[in-house]
């Protein structure tokens, strides 16, 4: 316990250097901005900014990129409350009661509760990372190749379970990602494989090109198809000070949301969006008068906003302790670390204490910055709400083209981005979510390596994966998850959740 505080203190020293403070602020500002802007999400933004972080030192890079992610959770609620359009998927439910409050002239109150609730949840979530990270990582050091293989299978299966739409299509997206991950050099012989003779592919497919193409470029094309919204009416903001009565009634909702968010953040595949939906559903259930929901109930704002922010923090736990990304954003973090030559895994806390504790400390600082950025400065963000997409998309495509070029100084990567952009666009049209693809791509090489190593140990005997207790348990959990989504009850429930999330 005392040791944790000492390490956390060290983390604050790392996070409080002028450079890291600056990048924490840049991340928080960027995050708020893209959270406010509908049509630009954290996944696309982080892919766009990956090349720019290449020049930073790894700690600053991760601090900034994480700031974008949790900052977007703050910004998303602003748009949801003021104009009834969720800036982020995780703020969809916030719009229901939040915008109703705004129409009743209580916009300031809703914004204040959302920001303060997010702050509370963000801090608690960060404490959970600091407390649970090191013991989990120590536990994970017991893992051997077969266990790692099983863990990755479990990670990928969870991505399938929680992906939107058809399960078969989600599985095929993962396999596609694994195939793309196998392009490059063979691990043991070092010979090029699956490169179609292109020497540019001999180091593998450029991660930045895949991420930018699938999420940045593809999103631009789909967004250009939909008619842009006309200048929107922004609800007026009166006093930002919530009344004591409001604070009291929001208090328990924030706590419930935080707990739910922490749990959903750690679970593979769930993340901030699912957490906020579940929090809203829970509030409705525990409320004495459920009919108030949809008519401006403060709990309907407080709980989901706390939940999505808590989840945005704890979703870092599987990444930093096991090296397993549980969502597209976390897969991007793996990419960012890999660009700097760091492989996420259980050794990261021990070998890179600056990175882990610096990041944790920066999350406290970042959350504090975000409250200031989002409450007193709310008027500035409201002005960004009316930036039309016809301007935004020009920025996105130019920055992605020059950005991806800058990674290897190669126009080949620009064409590659385009190929993945078109692929991502087609996949969207065909109702296949590309997020599992990215996770397959990121986990593929390590998964193959661990499988090969396990089978060398066992001399070709596949039963090694069920002989070791850890890998057996992990594989059984994966199997149970896969079986459970095939059950009619879960299937129906899963559909409901996703249908709601599309509104």
């Amino acid at each position: 316990m005392i040791e944790t505080f000492a390490l956390l203190g060290h983390g604050f020293l790392v996070a409080a250097t002028p450079q890291n403070l600056l990048f924490c602020l840049v991340g928080a500002l960027c995050g708020t901005l893209i959270g406010v802007l509908p049509g630009l999400g954290p996944v696309a933004t982080i892919s766009l900014l990956l090349p720019a972080t290449y020049a930073l030192d790894p700690v600053s890079a991760i601090i900034m990129l994480s700031g974008i992610y949790y900052g977007a959770q703050y910004g998303g609620s602003t748009t949801a409350i003021l104009i009834n359009i969720p800036g982020e998927a995780a703020s969809v439910v916030t719009a229901i009661d939040g915008h109703m409050m705004a129409r009743q002239g209580r916009a300031g109150e809703a914004l204040a509760i959302a920001a303060l609730g997010s702050f509370f949840a963000g801090c608690v979530g960060t404490i959970v990372i600091a407390a649970a990270g090191p013991p989990l990582a120590t536990l994970a050091q017991e893992f051997q190749s077969p266990d790692y293989f099983a863990l990755m299978v479990l990670g990928l299966v969870s991505a399938v379970v929680l992906a939107n739409g058809s399960i078969l299509r989600a599985i095929s997206m993962i396999l596609l990602g694994l195939l793309l991950g196998s392009v490059g050099s063979d691990i043991s012989s070092g010979l090029p494989r699956m490169t179609m003779g292109m020497y540019e592919l001999s180091d593998g497919v450029n991660f930045v090109a895949i991420a930018m193409g699938l999420f940045g470029v593809a999103e631009v094309v789909s967004n250009l198809e939909s008619k842009s919204t006309k200048a929107v009416e922004v609800a007026k903001i009166n006093s930002l000070l919530p009344s004591i009565a409001t604070l009291l009634s929001a208090k328990f909702a924030v706590m419930r949301g935080t707990i739910l968010g922490i749990i959903f953040g750690i679970l593979p595949g769930a993340g901030a969006t699912v957490a906020s939906f579940s929090a809203y559903a829970l509030e409705k259930k525990v409320s004495k008068d459920p009919s108030r929901f949809g008519k401006g109930a403060i709990e309907g704002v407080a709980s989901p906003e706390a939940a999505n922010n808590a989840a945005a923090q704890t979703t870092f736990i599987p990444l930093l302790t096991l090296g397993i990304p549980t969502s597209a954003v976390m897969a991007l973090m793996v990419g960012a670390l890999t660009l700097h030559g760091i492989t996420p895994g259980p050794l990261i806390i021990e070998k890179q204490p600056d990175l882990f504790w610096g990041l944790v400390a920066s999350m406290f600082i970042g959350n504090l910055m975000l409250v200031v950025i989002n409450l007193p400065m709310i008027g500035i963000w409201v002005r960004f709400l009316n930036i039309p997409y016809r301007m935004l998309f020009l920025i996105i495509i130019v920055v992605s083209a020059i950005g991806v070029y800058s990674v290897n100084n190669s126009t080949f990567d620009v064409y590659l981005t385009l190929v993945f952009g078109v692929l991502g666009y087609l996949l969207r049209k065909l109702d296949a979510e590309p997020a599992p693809l990215l996770m397959g791509f990121v986990l593929g090489p390590a998964m193959e390596e661990n499988m090969r190593r396990s089978l060398i140990i066992s001399q070709g005997d596949y039963s090694i994966f069920i002989q070791r207790p850890i890998s057996l348990v992990l594989l059984l959990v994966a199997l149970a998850l896969l079986a459970s989504v095939s059950l009619p009850f879960v299937k129906r429930r899963r559909k409901e959740v996703f249908v709601e999330s599309e509104i």
Partner: protein
């Protein structure tokens, strides 16, 4: 606005797309040595994955043919074509004509991707983006690129 409407449901098309990709992958992997489970060759993992992907894509196609399923949303040609050409123009011009012209040309092509763009705005954005990229990528990040031909 010109649109490409695909008849039939999403399963058939996504299955066909995946089948094509897995066939290509299988063909690429076929020249690699497979090895055996004890000592896997470079081709083992890609081959297994492409075979499984191929089987799943067939299953998806079959499901698409026997169940009604969801229709494919129409594909609008203009934004797609404009974005594709804008990238191609950028990649072609960048090494030959320098950053400024490449960005100008990319914005010019992309301008036609949306009916809502305005010429004056796009010109201003092209200039702004060229300056921004020059400062960030050439001066700050030190990418070896020339600004002009």
């Amino acid at each position: 606005m010109r649109r490409l409407v695909l008849r039939g449901n999403v399963d058939v098309y996504s299955g066909l797309l995946l089948l094509a990709i897995s066939t290509l992958a299988l063909w690429l992997a076929s020249s690699l040595s497979l090895g055996d489970a004890t000592e896997m060759g470079p081709g083992y993992f890609p081959t297994v994955i492409s075979v499984v992907l191929g089987m799943i894509s067939v299953a998806i196609i079959v499901r698409g043919l026997i169940t009604p399923g969801q229709e494919v949303a129409p594909i609008e040609i203009r934004p797609l074509a404009a974005v594709i050409f804008s990238f191609v123009v950028f990649a072609l011009l960048l090494p030959r004509a320098g950053l400024v012209i490449a960005i100008g040309a990319q914005v010019a092509v992309a301008h036609f991707g949306s009916p809502e763009t305005k010429v004056q705005e796009s010109v201003l954005f092209a200039i702004g983006l060229a300056i921004f990229s020059a400062v960030l990528f050439i001066y700050v990040l030190g990418i070896p690129l020339s600004l002009f031909p």
